[in-house]
Amino acid sequence: MSVTKVAAPPQETTRAVGRSVLGTVFKARESGIALALVVLVVFTATQNSRFLSGQSIRDILLGTSILAVLAVGQAIVVITRNIDLSVGSVLGLAAFAVGSLMRDNPGLPVIVALLAGLALGVVCGLLNGALVRFGQVPALVVTLGTLYAFRGVSYLWAGGQQINADKLPASFLQFGTASVLGVPWLVVIAVVVMVVAGVVLRNYPVGRELYAMGSSPQAARLAGIKVGRNTTIAFAVSGALAGLAGVLFAARFGTVDAAAGTGYELNVVAAAVVGGVAVFGGSGSVWGASLGALLLTVIGSALAVLDINQFWQQAIVGGLILLAIGADRLVAVRVAKALKKRDSHV
């Protein structure tokens, strides 16, 4: 008894010191990306001042907004220790569906387009969720399958059609570029999505449950969390956001065919991973994922502005993903070591 009693006081002090160190390490993840972003922007701007012109910033933000909406959805799914590879195909399907809806009904208000995209996305997401939940099929397999299937459906539907800008109502196209108070609509929507998702994940029980599920599925079940229901919700949200992104895509680019969004899934997963969302669930944030999306977009723009051979772009993105997950791992190992040392009773 005496042994433990004597040992107690120093233990307490070390714990108190550990807290502040830990706090900074935990925030470091997202701030690391932010730092990389700032460095990149500053460097590029010194090479070419036009990089920071109003038009350029607008273009980057517009480009980011679509990817960020998708990345937010992906982050939600990945946090629960799942993955959604079908987002690119859902985006394509929704973009075409909404495009043809608007073409055939030029009078429809934009909000209808947004709702239609969301609804279609929810349906696709629910299908994924149901297969994962009731079929007990791993998310990777399900969404790889629906990646093919949804894309196939949009090809079957669209055939060789392309919906061109001149067929779409002007109000819809304007929505793709117009601004409120100087901020483009697309950016407003992306920010709203990000804030809502971020607040729900951080401040609402259901959000915390998603983290818990990803952190330890068995423990989640024992804690009385409705794992099946929450999984379905996560996929439905990811689907809905992919659908929404489809509408934004159609409005922004004005030209839609069945191939819209092909290969997007890898960019989206990359944005989430680079943004510090752990592939095995349980940690990461939608802010991080959005930052990842912004970083990827800025890299694209910066490489163009710096007049770097565009072929390097993909290679650099790949290298960056490896760097990000590698650094993440090193931080995790450090933290684990620090914690272990602090708590060892030996």
Partner: protein, 325 residues
């Protein structure tokens, strides 16, 4: 009754083999021009790269990991092959160098996965982008086309209706099959996939095993890159784009569990043949590419869903029987 359910599960690959044979037989009867020697040649040539890359992929997925970078490795070796050819190197030295290059690219994956212990899905998504990007860096705008006739015609050539390249494929398939199912390495692969910890406690060096699997996967993808380049006599940075999904789909269709520990090589080969045959036959029936996509996706999901449903309904049945008895 336990063992029956178990056997049903384990023989999913047997079911795929049966289905494949059925599809081939039905297609030969019902689809015009399917059952000809030349079509067989085309079919084999088309499935060659997928089958080749699927061999090591089977090992990797059985150990519970994944390699999504194979198609990009193929593209990068193809691009490097083109640029080396342009510098005037001899094809005899280019080919082995390309295979070694593939191995090195695989080793990088292996390093990240086994030494840094990063999730293989994330790592190989990263190298998927990296290697494809490097392929464009290497070859850029160019397509190198003037490979020696003797080599390109060997790759597209046949012995009777059997394509020449089927010979190395069959040899490799035999080697991979024997290693997986009848050697200590194969035993270790299954053990590592079903329970990494238990495998380590039984003396299996799981890290080393996985590392070398990635090396082999890269090297085979490199070989596939060489054959691809020679078949189309065209070295391009975008060669084999998107092939990784087809390979993973075929492996999963062949009964390999994405969670590791389960699967057979004959099943995987049947999966490859099934997918390729369906595509070939449906295309001859003028079914559009888009419909093929839907078929592939649905097939993939069903292939994993079905055994799940079977085992679960059997378990439910058993429970009911127990309650009534």
């Amino acid at each position: 009754m336990f063992d029956k359910a178990w056997h049903r599960l384990a023989s999913w690959d047997a079911a795929v083999i049966v289905v494949t044979v059925l599809v081939v037989v039905i297609a030969s009867g019902a689809v015009d021009n399917f059952g000809t020697g030349r079509n067989f040649t085309f079919l084999m040539l088309d499935l060659l790269p997928i089958a080749l890359v699927a061999l090591p992929m089977t090992f990797i997925i059985v150990t519970g990991e994944i390699d999504l970078s194979v198609a990009s490795t193929l593209g990068l070796t193809s691009a490097v092959m083109g640029s080396m050819w342009n510098t005037g190197m001899s094809i005899e030295s280019i080919i082995p160098l390309c295979i070694v290059l593939g191995g090195v690219l695989g080793a990088l994956n292996g390093f990240f996965v086994t030494v840094l212990k990063l999730p293989s899905l994330a790592v190989t998504i990263g190298t998927l982008a990296l290697y494809r990007g490097l392929a464009f860096v290497v070859l850029g705008d160019n397509a190198v086309a003037d490979f020696p006739r003797s080599y390109t015609s060997w790759v597209t050539g046949t012995i009777g209706v059997i394509p020449n390249v089927l010979v190395p494929l069959l040899v490799l398939a035999l080697v991979f099959g024997v290693v997986l199912h009848a050697t200590p390495i194969g035993r270790a692969v299954f053990a590592a996939g079903a329970s990494e910890q238990a495998a380590r406690f039984a003396g299996v060096r799981t890290g080393r095993l996985k590392f070398w699997l990635y090396v082999v996967s890269g090297a085979v993808a490199g070989l596939a890159g060489v054959l691809w380049t020679l078949r189309y006599s065209s070295a391009r940075a975008d060669n084999g784009f998107g092939l990784e999904l087809a390979v993973v789909a075929a492996v999963l269709l062949g009964g390999v569990s994405i969670f590791g520990g389960k699967g057979t090589l004959p099943g995987v080969l049947a999966g490859v043949v099934l997918l390729a045959t369906l595509q070939n036959a449906l295309r001859l029936q003028d079914v559009s590419n888009e419909a093929l996509n839907v078929v592939t996706g649905v097939l993939l999901i069903v292939s994993v869903l079905l055994p799940n449903i079977v085992t679960r309904s059997r378990a439910a049945l058993r429970r009911r029987r127990k309650v009534t008895s």
